[in-house]
Subunit: 340 residues, 2 copies
Amino acid sequence: MATLKDLSRHLGLSVTQVSRALNGHSDVNEQTRARVQEAAKLLKYQPNISARRLVTGRSGTVGLVVPPPVSTDGHAVFVEMISGLSASFAQQQVHFLLHVINPQEDPVAVHRRLIDSAALDGFVITDPVVNDPRIAFLRKRDVPFVVHGRLGDKNDFAYFDIDNYAVAHQLTAHLTGLGHQRIAFLNGVPGRTYVESRLRGHVAALAAAGIAHDPDLHRNGMMNRNFGLTETIRLMLPGSCRPTAIIAGNMLIALGVYDALQALGLRISADVSVVAHDDHLPGATAESLFPALTTTSAPLKESWGPMASLLVQALDGQPIETLQKMGGVTFFDRASCGRL
Amino acid sequence: MATLKDLSRHLGLSVTQVSRALNGHSDVNEQTRARVQEAAKLLKYQPNISARRLVTGRSGTVGLVVPPPVSTDGHAVFVEMISGLSASFAQQQVHFLLHVINPQEDPVAVHRRLIDSAALDGFVITDPVVNDPRIAFLRKRDVPFVVHGRLGDKNDFAYFDIDNYAVAHQLTAHLTGLGHQRIAFLNGVPGRTYVESRLRGHVAALAAAGIAHDPDLHRNGMMNRNFGLTETIRLMLPGSCRPTAIIAGNMLIALGVYDALQALGLRISADVSVVAHDDHLPGATAESLFPALTTTSAPLKESWGPMASLLVQALDGQPIETLQKMGGVTFFDRASCGRL
DNA sequence: GCATTTTTCCGAAACGTTTCGGATGCCGCC
DNA sequence: GGCGGCATCCGAAACGTTTCGGAAAAATGC
């Protein structure tokens, strides 16, 4: 492959000046810069990233360390995330390293190895939990990263998130506005920050309507179809609390809720109102359900582009405060709710 | 981070000797080697891979360039592949770079960029087609790679494959042995090498039973449930060729075939025999169908480990002939076939 | 006891890039 | 004519590793 030295020989310039021309430095004649760029194209020059990385300390590579998806339901999100991130980083000319660990392995140790070998200069963190050890570690080592979500307390890092508090608040308020009092909430696994935010929003909206929060109506679990199905049946069993409305944490849960209510012979909207948060997973659209599902909508796939550019900006040393972005959420009132 | 120079200072040895000790060269006293290793552990030494790569020309990173999966059905295979490869390479201490391209982008150009910037020193090639341009390019540039599958003609490269010819031959022979004459074959998209191999095996088995191949009974398409369903209905329509047996190229197709036959009121085994090749995708097991499906079985997930180690061996300069491996296929005769 | 081999070590160069500090020539200005 | 300022360029060092060629010390052979 052509090197800077080749270019400099070919152009009768010093290696220094060729490097500076290509990297857009100021002290190079615009005319010679044009010559250099032309020659670079002609000789198919590609900078050797190892050499560059060695001197700059930066590798041009970012990474994601994740366990494999557990259930088949998790596949859709996993694929969405992986391919979205990879494609977005590719667009930003950044290499994307994927490291799938087995579930019992310590993610922090893997991050440490990748940093110490100077292989990566930034990370994507997904599924943050409260007091996330990965975030604590990266913060200590002063390595740039971007989080998909937020922590509860101080978010002194780049993140992309949606307002999960508002999501749960809005869904709950919609139901209380229709007169519902006993509202079940099928939430995600405890510990995840968005799950906790949603719980807070839910409780606040209940309180605003003068309703006390009944812990028995709040259920945690993996966000898949099966969870929606089994918890709905448990809730509706004779002798159980039998809510008049159900909030599903995502579309897979909502599908399970629909299945269960149909199996139990309960009519959606007339007997039980259902709302959900819709992250637009492929294969489950709110409009195509019957009756069409009322949702807050925030496409997951629109988060990977921003995530990538936030991390790149963080690598470029932009101040953290400018790298905290919220995705929009829109409310769609459809046909799955009835007035009590 | 600790460097070789730090170690050499700490030990009173030269940088050279420390490097040689750590890399297992012969001309270093076993006692000093032990000392060096101990010190390396103590100072948490991690070699800077950029520096190493710069001098050796090797990066310790391999890559996979793929388009995103098209349908939801493709998700399972994609996840299986990505996480299997990533985990396997991690085990071999090799970094795994994932580059998801958008479908209209030229994969060869991406490979070229990755090679020229010295970012990668080996590739995984999946879904090879006849006259695959990626393989031609990598061969020309003399870059190591491992293929999941084979080409028709000369396979002068590392590969992992199953005997697709034998798979189709065995499934077909099983059916002809039961007296079937009109056997439909729901195969994958044309051009893929395994699709062509299977076609050849199928035709050969038919010929061995004295049956001419009827092109109308051979259908190509994307290997998903919908393809199995629609093609089965087309085959069984009045006025159509109405086979007495159907071979499904994988389990997703088989699920579609089962759906269609049930919808048409045709009994599996009694009215129509069904066999399939089972690559053990999650969520579709041959035993749990009713009636249990007769298959050739070759778990896809068992191919990623071998793929990874084959590529690593290829990087180490092992001769190609030792790097061509075939996965085992076993035949399970279950309850989905009837004698004619 | 001397020559020869073997073992164990080391200095220096190299990989391709960026960057620091300075050099050169040219211009206008007092 | 001397001086400062500007635009444009360059040499050399540095990043951390591997490796080539050789050197010193120890062991062996006669």
